[in-house]
């Protein structure tokens, strides 16, 4: 089965629509949504509704730190994220907020694990910045492949049976076989706010039969997404950074 994995949509409707379209065209049969559906972007209602619909049709979704912040003011965030989340809170209705509050922190699906930040302490929202961070997450699970997001930059890590680590910045559209006999941590780039210098929306396809992962990019209408952010009085930097991909 071909899974399409999305992370960090952040209320960016244009980017999410583009990714869904490309993923469907490439034959995706099941969707996995790694959290942070809201925050930063100007279309949180549409994104949450779409995610609820996909989940009703069998998609997997987990909770991100921004999704949690909608329902709790104790999450510490930087100033712009804080402004955006307070604005988002006012946009969502009770059902949408409840949906976000009830999302699981992680989901295990066979020998795969889906989580927003990493597997060792999902509640602490640690970032995977290095092979050392990746090792901590991989040691905490027996899953063959862990999928996460949170850092908005794609990366692929692997740990051998002797706990030796390898890291790679994956090349777009090149499929990588995730060999059995070692563990893998697939860090997804962001759909709605890429920060790796490439402004196009990031997601990944995973073939469960051949265990091949392919990192993908979808170009989208950045100008419209940025305009929506400005029109709604959100911090301008949140609009500007979309075209820079950082």
């Amino acid at each position: 089965m071909l899974l399409a994995v999305f992370s960090d949509i952040h209320g960016n409707r244009q980017a999410f629509e583009a990714c869904l379209k490309v993923a469907r065209a490439r034959g995706a049969e099941r969707f996995v949504l790694l959290g942070d559906f809201v925050g930063y972007g100007a279309d949180p209602e549409w994104v949450v509704d779409t995610v609820m619909e996909l989940v009703a049709q069998g998609a997997v979704a987990v909770r991100g730190n921004h999704d949690q912040a909608v329902n709790s003011s104790s999450e510490t965030m930087n100033n712009e994220a804080q402004i955006a989340i307070e604005w988002t809170r006012g946009r969502l209705d009770a059902a949408q907020r409840r949906f976000l509050a009830e999302l699981p922190m992680l989901v295990e699906d066979g020998d795969r694990l889906f989580v927003h930040s990493e597997a060792s302490h999902p509640q602490r929202w640690h970032y995977i910045r290095s092979t050392a961070d990746a090792a901590k997450s991989l040691i905490a699970t027996t899953a063959h492949v862990t999928f996460c997001g949170h850092i908005h930059r794609p990366a692929l890590y692997s740990m051998s049976v002797t706990a030796k680590m390898t890291g790679l910045v994956p090349k777009t559209d090149v499929s990588v076989p995730l060999l059995r006999g070692r563990q893998w941590l697939a860090v997804l780039g962001a759909v709605g706010q890429p920060r790796d210098g490439d402004p196009s929306a990031a997601f990944a396809l995973f073939d469960t039969a051949s265990c091949q992962i392919t990192y993908c990019r979808a170009p989208y209408d950045i100008a419209s997404a940025a305009n929506r952010i400005r029109e709604n009085g959100l911090p301008h930097w949140l609009a500007d950074r979309l075209s820079e991909g950082r």
Partner: protein, 482 residues
Amino acid sequence: MPIPLVKPGAVIDGYTIGECVHAGGMATLWTVTHAGIDAPLLMKIPRASEGEDPAAIVSFEMEMMILPRLTGPHVPHCYGTGDFAHQAYAVIERISGTTLYKRLPDLPLPYEEVRLLVAKIATALADLHRQNVIHHDIKPSSIMFRGSDEKARGEAVLIDFGLSHHNHLPDLLQAEFRLPYGTAPYMAPERLRGVRDDPRSDLFSLGVLLYFFSTGERPFGEGETLRAMRRRLWRDPYPPRALRSDYPPWLQEVVLRCLEIEPEWRYPTAAQLAFDLTHPDHVKLTARAERLKRDPLSVAWRRRFNPDVKPQGARSDLATQIAMSPIVAVALDTAEGEPELNEALRVTTERILATLPSARLACVNVLKLNRIAIDKTLDEQGSNKHIDRLVALRHWATPLKLDENRLSVHVLEAVDPAAAVLEFAEANQVDHVIIGARQGSFRRMLLGSVSAKVAAEATCTVTVVRPPRMALPEPDAGVVWG
């Protein structure tokens, strides 16, 4: 991990095991058969039981990732792999014949034989590098040839990708071993510094093979210790001419360029090395060609204790490196070509080369032979047509101010000019052909366009150049326009 049940007659994923044909330190090789596959097959099974070298597992994982994505005649075709969850294996095409290792008792080989042999290996390497793979274990036992006839050997086939690096895949070996892993006598110096992403490391190893096969001596001995291997970071080998007085200077130039300590001083690509081996008379001789002694000790010691030795920084990726060093061929008609067209060709060529400091340019001219009449090499004035054309090509290229080792001129004699240009491009792994289109000529109407045929049939990029657009002349009043 389950205990492997590999024995003759056993069936794994539809492959019936035959006999064991090789038992090496890292893996065993078995003949296998499979219903529906006609080709002779080999199954490679890693030694992966407890207590075995973990290198065997990791290098087999690399092979399982790399083998299925390789294509073309220079690698064994891969039919399938099985992973470590059940029984790890790779099923590959069985290449008939033996590896080059069997030739070791015959060394040194005649220069001409070595030249042809190594040119074929360089061509295979160029093809591998284009597929984003660096082999990292080039040595006689990793090289076979298609076709069983010793005299008319086919393409070189590279085998054993257990130490290879794929530019788009995780490098499992980089992480696994602190020390460089490979075959000591053939290992490039930068490998000792942990560099695994430079394709020119393979050119160094091929240089070692070229030196060994043409002199009978290994340039850096057989030392297996790290200390002995490190010496190549500062000590150059004896020039081959010091070992064999009849050693051709052009061959020494090629060997020593491959064996340069700094990758930047070697050939930029395997395709350019293959080009020089295919055209020995075009090899630009430098001080390397004449050298009879190694560098003085003072120079070697300066290298050894050079405080400027800088660790290798991040490089652009493999595909970019190769793309920066293409072989560009410009096809021009110096005899009957219009001066405007030749000028336009030069302007375009200059622009293309300006962005590619490691590109090399081959200027090609076709001396058209008559289909029926017997051709005379001498023209009416008695001068040699072939030489005249070479002189004209050089003259055309002079304003480009290219270094001699980046430029070569070729006159091809052929009945069909387009076919000759296409064949030249194919044989020399040309990446880009620049060719002029004759404007409204009567001959073009009559014979068809050479540039159109080249553009349509070439397997590489083709740029068709026309002279600058001029205002159309007034239509002749006498012509009736239908």
